[in-house]
Subunit: 233 residues, 2 copies
């Protein structure tokens, strides 16, 4: 039996990007940032946009999703406070590969490509940190691709909830509550299934006491049970 894959990703925060940077470096970084307030539901950038910048969520939450030419949506990732997004575009063709939409009222900071490249050239550690962050995300996408190809819809939803719990969960008396407000469609689009299947499975779990769901705020009541669903072969 092969080695089990590492649970991995941790929170990929902007703090990691500037890890090891001196006070003066941070000052230079802060000076070149642009800050914005984004209301719930508003798009921050759109797939194909060309003026790519590097973004960080200061407060709130963002959905990163791709929309196929047939209208099918897939959520690549949810971004919580402190995490980077939109950064990969800077290093490829400068076109954002996905949409970014605020799913709660959000504040985000961003940097121009030139400013970030300048920082990286002067402080190589920042560039190395960036590889590390992108590397984790690549590993996560590889794991998700494996799951899409080999696991059932139920297992994928379970795994998605476990990831979201690690990423943005808060411990409460009832269990781990996922802070981001998620609709059934969001759950479906990040698990690679349909609204209907996601609804059926979640109501089933709610009845079985695995999760509870109040006003789009999911709580994982039985973490071990959920893990078992995700891992059953």
């Amino acid at each position: 039996m092969p080695t089990e894959l590492s649970a991995s990703p941790q929170s990929l925060s902007s703090a990691d990007l500037f890890a090891g940077a001196s006070a003066s470096t941070l000052k230079i970084a802060a000076a070149s940032a642009r800050w914005r307030r984004v209301p719930n539901g508003k798009r921050i950038f759109r797939q194909g946009d060309e003026d790519a910048r590097a973004h960080v969520v200061v407060a709130g939450g963002v959905r990163i999703s791709q929309t196929g030419s047939d209208g099918a949506q897939v959520v690549m990732r949810f971004i919580c406070a402190g995490e980077m997004f939109g950064t990969v575009a800077l290093f490829t063709d400068r076109k954002y590969p996905a949409d970014a939409t605020a799913i709660v009222d959000t504040i985000e900071a961003s940097w121009r490509e030139a400013d970030l490249l300048d920082l990286m050239t002067r402080f190589p550690q920042i560039a190395i940190n960036a590889i590390r962050i992108v590397g984790w995300r690549l590993q996560e996408m590889q794991n998700r691709a494996r799951e899409l190809a080999t696991r059932s819809a139920e297992q994928r939803i379970a795994q998605a909830l476990i990831r979201l719990g690690q990423q943005s969960g808060r411990s409460t008396p009832a269990g781990t509550t996922i802070l981001l407000p998620l609709r059934r469609k969001d759950i479906a689009d990040i698990s690679g299934t349909t609204l209907f299947t996601a609804s059926r499975i979640l109501t089933g779990w709610a009845r079985a006491g695995l999760v509870t769901d109040q006003r789009r705020r999911l709580t994982i009541a039985d973490h071990a049970g959920l893990q078992q669903v995700a891992e059953q072969s």
Copy 2:
């Protein structure tokens, strides 16, 4: 209708990693490399191994695959001559996230983590090049995840062949021949389907004149037709 995603990835060669490096930089890089000959079928590293190094295929071809705890296999990528692999592990937890297996007799060069980090710190452009390469791969995995979630098995196989043609295709009178020798299982595992489905679809295409298949060497005879299969909504 949303902007169509860029076809993207190009060949991600080691040349890109050292793009812009001076002759002296290259000399330092070459001096610290380790070279190995790997016979067809032999594993180069294994998922979970800890002594991660940065690898380049000098000649031959390599299959990067993950094996789930239930034995299910997924191919993440095939690596052709000139391309990097195994590099992401250096920047995450130093454990290879997948297996690497030679699928033809292969020569591979590799660097220790310390040597590569040293190079990157001294020549930040190399670090920036590395982000670019990993960024392209992340985008490619995101596209593949979207396809796994939203497209049919037939469309995914078509897309996989198109990618392989771009990556390792050679023009011949009969069309574009994919140089890597691929078994039905390889095709299935990179498209997220089964051996049986892959076989059925490929024999169908062979009958229709879209592809020909001689001794595990696939040739795309009708590129436009294949593209149409991949894109039909």
